[in-house]
Symmetry: C2
């Protein structure tokens, strides 16, 4: 920690190497989240486990309407892991945290013997300040709400999988892994009450995110296949691998439910941001208080199919 | 998470299964800490990895003068891990959190394939509210400060090691693993300005804790061997294994530096608590602003030796 991470992190709290970081408490409401990262390989096109760990936790805060105040970093390192790779991860953690406007305030390292872990596992937890006026939760979803996604789906999962399996696609796919605080939080300044629900569709992709939201909101939602942005290279890779791009993980995208009246403004605001240029309105929340919450996809042919909750892990250790 | 942990945790935030828990922010200062747990075996005399993970993070908050507000739990589980063992850990996490007066507000589980992890690793992060008036940090150590430990040393390390190596000692040693918030925080209500520094001597034991404090405080400290509580069974085991009990991990003890004038009151207050009955004053901070911060032990024979910072990990995966 002292030799590899501190020089990168330039964190006052961390430099003190105390048992806890002490911060000024933000006023109002606090968001708190945790995630472990076991991705393999550790370095992939468009990112690495460090960028993934910081982005994932920042995004979990952002979709709760919270700006990141401080992150913690827990490392489990297998004996014999290359110090140069650890430095690379440290640099990536530090630069992604800077990009997200936050810092690593607490950290811990454990080393286990060879064979007891697969190289490197990370855990990041995060504390955030919930934006005043924000109230983002599935129970706020209303019939007629517009559903937006902030860009193309499936990029992260396909990038990691193609790296792992040594598959090269015609146009190489890069992970979308990015911290989304600067994309999402301004929506809450502009339309605080009209942003009803946000989620980053990671494990299980859009299908899992929509099914979870539908279940919590007791809602039926419908999305139009033709409006869901998927890159041709991702679609091709998914065809080849027998995957549905709607169930593949993303690490730099958000699904947003907002009041229909605000959809135009929200779309415009998202598209003006470099991380949201390809934002699309993909569907609507149809009804609430259904006995059977449901996610439907309207296909290009105009027919309808149920978008099921993906079972198990189609793509293990993708994030 | 839903089937094994939720029934034990009874946590409203967790039950919502959102991306982040949302809490009311405590006023004043916030403490934030993280730790990963890779102990082997997972179950040992006096505790298990779940009790260890909750106690460790609660104690990191408590020695910063903070009461725990919320904890997060990150699990990395090896495929094939017994669900019954996971349930046992869940029960232990839940009951230890209750004992410490806190709750699991955020959680995450990752499963890795067989051979990619050693059974189960845990990470706990914690958010706490720093007690008003508390200012606990090594820079506050002053010449003449009394040094106390809240009980016998080396119990945790010896308990885990003897379990691991299948060594039975005459009187079996139990781990001291316990959350210390209810022991330590009342000291700050009684003598807020006079508690200068606290630390839980985990990895590296008392030797590491005192050396770290001496280095940060730029202090020389001296402790008396005869006053340091070590159980005969622990001493015997350490003799047998070639270990110094002062470098062996503890998980339910604290080292406290307080103003000499407050030492009597602090001692009395600690001894009145079930977890502090064997509290002892073991030495003093001698001088500050030394070029060579130093920890000295005065032996039973009246001679002096330097208590060095333990190098490497004498006892790997003990916590």
């Amino acid at each position: 920690m002292e030799k590899v991470f501190l020089p990168e992190f330039k964190s006052n709290e961390l430099a003190r190497l105390g048992d806890s970081a002490v911060l000024d408490a933000p006023t109002g409401r606090l968001a708190f989240t945790t995630d472990s990262y076991v991705v393999r390989p550790l370095f992939f096109r468009g990112g690495d486990i460090g960028r993934l760990a910081v982005s994932g936790t920042v995004n979990d805060l952002a979709v709760a309407g919270a700006e990141p105040v401080a992150l913690s970093l827990g490392l489990i390192v297998e004996e014999g892991f290359l110090i140069e790779d650890l430095r690379r991860v440290a640099r990536s953690v530090a630069s992604t945290a800077r990009e997200a406007g936050t810092r690593i305030a607490a950290a811990d390292t454990k080393v286990v013997e060879r064979g007891a872990a697969d190289g490197l596992f990370l855990n990041t937890s995060g504390v955030g300040r919930v934006r005043e006026g924000a109230d983002v939760r599935p129970e706020r979803v209303e019939p007629g709400d517009a559903i937006l996604v902030t860009g193309s789906l499936g990029d992260h999962g396909v990038a990691v999988l193609s790296e792992r399996e040594g598959i090269a696609f015609e146009s190489a796919v890069e992970s979308d892994v990015s911290p989304l605080a600067s994309l999402l939080l301004p929506l809450l300044d502009e339309s605080p009450g009209e942003i009803h629900m946000m989620r980053d569709p990671t494990r299980g992709g859009l299908a899992a995110a929509l099914n979870e939201i539908a279940a919590s909101a007791r809602a039926c939602v419908a999305v139009r296949e033709k409006d869901i942005p998927v890159r041709p290279a991702v679609r091709g890779a998914c065809d080849l691998l027998g995957l549905d791009p709607l169930t593949v993980a993303n690490e730099g995208k958000a699904v947003i439910f907002c009041a229909a009246s605000a959809a135009g403004r929200v779309l415009e605001q998202l598209r003006a941001h470099p991380l949201g240029r390809e934002t699309a309105v993909i569907g609507e929340a149809a009804s609430i208080d259904e006995d059977a919450p449901l996610v439907e996809v309207v296909t290009a042919l105009g027919t309808s199919r149920v978008l099921a909750m993906p079972y198990g892990e189609e793509l293990p250790r993708i994030c």
